[in-house]
């Protein structure tokens, strides 16, 4: 059961030379790593939302101090984030077709959109109408906003690094898998905003 001197297998061996050297989607370990992160962070968001309603159920008035957050910037940002899924979709599709020029194009568009939602996020914080230290209500609202904003910033930074790499290289096929997974993570970051938006902006109203 060993390979003899003249390289002829004595025994039947399973030759894997022809296999591809990368794969997209759940074929790739990177997909599983990303899904692991998504599972962890979804749990964090879900627990923070449960903490919000736990505190709300124990409060005589909600919000405990001040007004509910202004709807304008939060709703606008929800629209921007949902809109960002369009260039994100095209970036993912281009990556899976290994079409470098389009990957570059759509990633740049994604970066521009991320500047927009980060800027509006600053305005959102200014119109929350509560402070983290004024009441438990303020604390959990800021916690939810802080958690999600951390995701926006890290995801924007990840995407920026990847976008730069797409222009400067060095490139190989595996990097298209990275772009595809990065786009998948982007979906998570913007879609997880929907329940958080509902809680922050409507949990204080309904």
């Amino acid at each position: 059961m060993s390979v003899s001197k003249n390289d002829k297998p004595v025994d039947a061996l399973l030759d894997v030379k022809g296999l591809p050297t990368f794969g997209f989607g759940h074929r790739s370990p990177m997909w599983w790593g990303t899904m692991g992160l998504v599972a962890i962070e979804s749990t964090v968001f879900a627990l923070a939302i449960m903490a919000y309603f736990y505190l709300r159920s124990h409060a005589a008035a909600w919000p405990q101090t001040g007004q509910p957050p202004d709807l304008l910037w939060g709703t606008l940002n929800t629209a921007i984030m949902m809109g960002s899924m369009i260039p994100n979709h095209f970036a993912k599709r281009a990556a899976e077709r290994m079409d470098l020029p389009r990957v570059r194009l759509w990633m740049v568009v994604c970066m521009l959109v991320s500047i927009a939602f980060l800027a509006v996020r600053v305005l959102e914080f200014k119109t929350l109408n509560t402070h983290w230290d004024s009441s438990a209500y303020g604390s959990i609202v800021w916690m939810l906003m802080g958690l999600h904003t951390t995701h926006l910033i890290t995801d924007a930074y990840d995407s920026l690094v990847l976008t730069v790499l797409m222009f400067t290289g060095p490139l190989e096929g595996k990097r298209f898998v990275d772009v595809s997974e990065n786009a998948g993570y982007w979906y998570f970051v913007v879609l997880s905003w929907i329940p958080i938006y509902a809680v922050i902006y409507w949990g204080a109203r309904i």
Binding site: S2, L19, M143, V161, G169
Partner: protein, 647 residues
């Protein structure tokens, strides 16, 4: 046995084997030491580090026992005593029990599934460094007299700024951040390794039971550790920037802490307990000379335990003002989880019953597990009853119960596992007679320490009191417990001596000293850097106990770079080849930067902002591809679309 002996080692030509060894080895020198990412190197360091914390936690316990040995003890004062039990609990739970299981798993899982590495080897190294630096922070703080002192579960309001005004609780909260971050990363590493990197033919149905337990545990980590991270973040922001999560005057709620903590804390018990179930299955099978009875039942029992573990957390809160109906539900769930555990115990008994038993040291530790865990499980059933729990809450009965469960359920099998796999790690067997001394002193010392605590608890001795008056008449049983604790210390000392001696002078083990059936025993001890010269093809659950099938091995993987085989999730069919990254200093440097961020944030919230910059630089350096490596890679790149087009 004839099958085992006639099985020839599949091997490469010597020059190819040497090249493969060099490819997967860690670089030399000091810089190389910090750049190491081979899973076996990292895992050995991880195991040693957790064991050092185990010894430190044990020394803290000895100090506790000295103080309590007699009435009106004067060894330490109340303040030091608070630090001692907090440090002991935090160390054993966060720096030993959960991480040691992951440490062992990162060594064994790739070998058991026929893989050359773990997935994400650099993240694996990063997690190790984060863990180590976090543990060091805790002990440095303790030696600087800022050791945490609010108990290992740091209940508010005691842990709030009002009642704990110094930095002690902040240190505790950031220790949580360090260790849980490391634990979560290890969980991702292990899940991906298990699901995507099994050797061809190792369907889920052929996976060793130990690997199943690690898979279940890792999923539990994903869904439970976020709770304690969120809780400790809320605690530290309450303390540092005046958030009001746990302050009832501003609408906060102290029970929120308990819910979040135990939503993690109860599954944690099972994260500590489930991996040893897999170790036991490995040991029982090998020393009964037959596969474990009821493979499917065993797997389902492990998965059921992992699920039920999330429905028990409120039984830590029976002494609070929760609705009675809710408590009833958690009583039922707490009783129900005994069922899958019982199924497993019956399967092992059936295995031992129908097998040919070889009573070696690993099996001794497993047999002790049966005895101790059943006792601890039964007191658990007692505590699951609300009325009894209200009586026994926060007494030494609970201390006895939790040590019976955790020591019996985890530490005894873990020691058995060390005796069992030590030959694989080092190439030499541990000394058997020292092993028996180690075992018997441990077993007797353990029961002498903790059995009296049941009685002390029933007599009303609370936990976490630094002393007691002679009139309570608790002195005799406490003295017995202290003698027991020192007996355990002697037994652990014998273990350390055994390890240090056997590492150099032990009996050479060869590839398979026990005649075991799983894949890790098919490679030399210690295994080569790439684990397998040729990746095996799996045809059975216990490949070494069955006639070899064809094809026997994989050919066509590269020897001159770190190439691995990726297979499908359920059936482990061939999918693609993948280049893993090479050794790098970046994980260590990024871990240092991350530690600066975590420790800095204890003193100023702005550390989260300015220290994020070096973290981002480190992570980018880590990710950024090297030109020469990419050029080498693109030369042999095969696109998935080319393969599809051909077929």
């Amino acid at each position: 046995m004839s099958v085992v002996e006639s099985r020839a080692q599949a091997c490469l030509k010597p020059e190819d084997a040497a090249l493969l060894e060099q490819t997967w080895s860690d670089p030399p020198g000091v810089r190389g030491w910090f750049s190491a990412i081979n899973h076996k190197t990292i895992s050995l360091r991880f195991m040693i580090t957790t064991f050092v914390f185990f010894v430190l936690g044990g020394l803290l316990a000895l100090a506790i026992r000295l103080q309590l040995a007699g009435p009106d003890g004067k060894v330490v004062g109340a303040d030091m005593y608070n630090q001692l039990f907090t440090m002991h609990g935090s160390t054993m739970m966060f720096l030993f029990a959960v991480p040691v299981m992951q440490a062992v798993a990162t060594y064994l899982v790739p070998l058991m599934i026929g893989a050359r590495s773990v997935a994400f080897p650099r993240m694996n190294a990063f997690a190790y460094w984060i863990f180590t630096l976090g543990g060091m922070m805790l002990f440095i703080a303790f030696f600087l007299n800022v050791g945490p002192d609010a108990g290992w579960f740091a209940y508010v309001p005691l842990s709030s700024l009002q009642y704990s005004p110094t930095k002690r609780v902040d240190i505790w909260a950031q220790m949580i951040t360090f260790t849980e971050m490391a634990g979560l990363m290890e969980a991702i590493v292990l899940i991906t390794t298990i699901l995507k990197m099994r050797a061809p033919g190792m369907t889920l149905n052929r996976m060793p039971l130990f690997v199943w337990t690690i898979l279940a545990t890792s999923f539990m980590v994903l869904f439970s550790m976020p709770a304690v991270m969120l809780a400790s973040t809320a605690l530290i922001t309450d303390r540092l920037v005046n958030t009001q999560f746990f302050n009832p005057l501003k609408g906060g709620d102290a029970l929120l802490w308990q819910h979040l903590f135990w939503f993690f804390g109860h599954p944690e018990v099972y994260m500590i307990f489930i991996p040893p179930l897999g170790m036991i299955s490995s040991i029982v099978a090998t020393f009964s000379r037959r596969p474990v009875v009821g493979y499917a039942a065993m797997v389902l029992a492990v998965i059921a335990t992992a699920f039920f573990a999330f429905g028990l957390w409120v039984h830590h809160m029976f002494a609070t003002n929760l609705p009675e109906l809710g408590k009833t539900f958690f009583t039922a769930a707490s009783l129900m989880i005994a069922i899958p555990t019982a199924i497993q115990i019956f399967c092992w008994i059936a295995t031992l019953w129908t097998g040919r038993i070889h009573l070696r040291t690993p099996l001794l530790f497993v047999l002790a597990f049966f005895f101790i865990l059943v006792a601890g499980g039964l007191t658990g059933l007692m505590l699951a009853s609300v009325s009894l729990d209200t009586q026994l809450h926060d007494t030494h009965f609970v201390v006895a119960h939790l040590h019976y469960v955790l020591m019996g359920g985890a530490v005894f099998p873990l020691f058995g596992a060390f005796y069992y796999w030590f030959p694989k790690f080092t190439g030499r067997l541990l000394n058997e007679s020292l092993g028996r001394w180690n075992f018997w002193l441990f077993f007797i010392g353990f029961n002498l320490t903790f059995f009296p605590m049941h009685v002390l608890g029933l007599q009303g001795m609370p936990r976490r009191v630094y002393t007691y008056p002679a009139a309570m008449e608790w002195g005799g049983l406490n003295l017995a417990a202290t003698v027991g604790a020192f007996t355990i210390a002697v037994s652990v000392l014998l273990f350390i001596i055994n390890v240090l001696r056997s590492r150099r002078h032990g009996e050479p083990a060869g590839a398979d000293p026990w005649g075991a059936g799983t894949l890790e025993w098919s490679v030399p001890s210690p295994p080569p850097a790439a684990n397998y010269e040729m990746v095996p093809v799996v045809h059975a659950r216990d490949p070494l106990w069955e006639a070899p099938g064809l094809p026997s091995h994989v050919s066509g993987l590269a020897n001159d770079y770190r190439e691995i085989l990726v297979t499908s999730v359920a059936d482990a069919r061939l999918d693609h080849r993948l280049w893993l990254p090479s050794s790098s200093l970046a994980p260590f440097v990024t871990a240092l930067a991350t530690s600066v961020l975590f420790v800095g944030s204890i003193f100023t919230p702005w550390a989260v902002v300015w220290a994020a910059i070096p973290v981002a630089i480190g992570a980018t350096w880590w990710f950024w591809p090297k030109k020469d490596i990419v050029e080498q890679r693109t030369g042999s790149e095969v696109s998935p679309y080319d393969v599809e087009a051909e077929s």
